[in-house]
Symmetry: D2
């Protein structure tokens, strides 16, 4: 899938899509997405909430996976592991750089770095996720 | 903290609180919380979104931790691992049963079973989380 | 598989088997295994090594899985998450209580509590694992 | 710590050290280690065992951590998450490239890529680990 097809797919399948993030770049097995941070994502103390970060990581790796296997709406997350490393900046948007580590017939595994825009060397979180890919006949 | 103190604490510190869940029961090192499922949490296909489930697990274990250490607003999640097991029922609320496995001076570790109300024997997800507990002087 | 069939299977397929543990009990979707602790598993300071604990958790959940699906040698671990909670006692054997949370057609997910014999209420570690189950035709 | 100091430290603190791996390179917050694969690490079917891979990942990230904080024998692993991606080659040694993602006062978090020598682009496993760093007074 190319960039425009992916944008269309995400918009169609995530009607609440932009609450998870917007696609910035897409490559072969990787994606860069952005979550515009506003009050809705903030926790007391002015930091981005954990669920908002996890949602962004999830969608970003989903885009990375689909760049390899095409538009498969029924691929589902089976495992997510996330380490929260630093406090995101409350005044910067959140970026997610997602990359597949393996795309098999049944499972896709990848990792995501989350960072505040402008501070890419100090990730705020790192996640690994597994997606289960339905059999062609079951799609 | 008893049930009413915890309710007050969660309401104060999570102004968007009820979007994560409401406290049903609280014990010594455990908590039962509920997420009333509505459209806001649904994904295409009519299932509860992953981030909604992760948010509920996070808050439920936070309550379980605070039942042991008292009201510490600065305890932060450092790791979350979640396995998605089954599709939640779109027409049932989501429950989270959280239990601490260890509460040390610096770290609290626990697990959470998530299930659709009325189907407790078939959990829809299982999560383990680690919280970092600030030093008394830093609170 | 019953207890004796499982013992035979583990002995056949893990010739270095007893370095991982011995089967104590087996039920429908669960298993209890034991690692006799000796110098080979100890780290400096006299505690059981992490890899020895992870190996025990892995075999114990494998037995729990096979109790549901029968003797499938090609089931492989795809994900393991472990939280180390307390220092095991160097003078006690290590026990693993493994239980399946879900057994699907393609994936089996379960959890394992590890504890020193005689101290079951204070687990030394907790692990969750995912096994990939080969298709019947591929076994 | 430089390369030679680290080698000495690992040899002293892991008398069974070479069963986990040998240090090849050491940098500021990263390490490259190697596990010479022999029968002891193999499972039926001729593949490297999971515990051997986890042990190598653990030691490699420990070296990466110590490159930042110096020789702290009491740093302990609190969480390990590993995704097994591909079958390692039975006839190649196993390499681990470990890198810290964050080194705080209390916690160090990092990731490890494991691959068969000569096939670096296709990792056989990916792990993230958390180490708890004792307070200076407690060391």
């Amino acid at each position: 899938m190319d960039f425009e097809a992916m944008q269309g797919f995400l918009t169609e399948h995530f009607p609440q899509g932009e609450q998870y993030g917007e696609l910035l770049q897409l490559g072969d097995g990787w994606a860069l997405m952005k979550l515009p941070v506003d009050d809705q994502h903030l926790r007391p103390g002015g930091t981005v909430s954990g669920p908002a970060m996890m949602g962004l990581a999830d969608v970003a790796l989903y885009a990375a996976l689909l760049s390899k296997i095409g538009p498969v709406p029924l691929a589902v997350t089976t495992n997510l592991n996330i380490n929260f490393l630093r406090r995101p900046r409350p005044d910067a948007d959140l970026l997610a750089r997602a990359k597949m580590l393996k795309v098999g017939k049944r499972l896709g595994v990848g990792e995501v770095y989350l960072f505040s825009e402008g501070a890419e060397d100090d990730p705020v979180a790192h996640a690994t996720l597994t997606y289960s890919i339905p059999e062609p006949g079951a799609r």
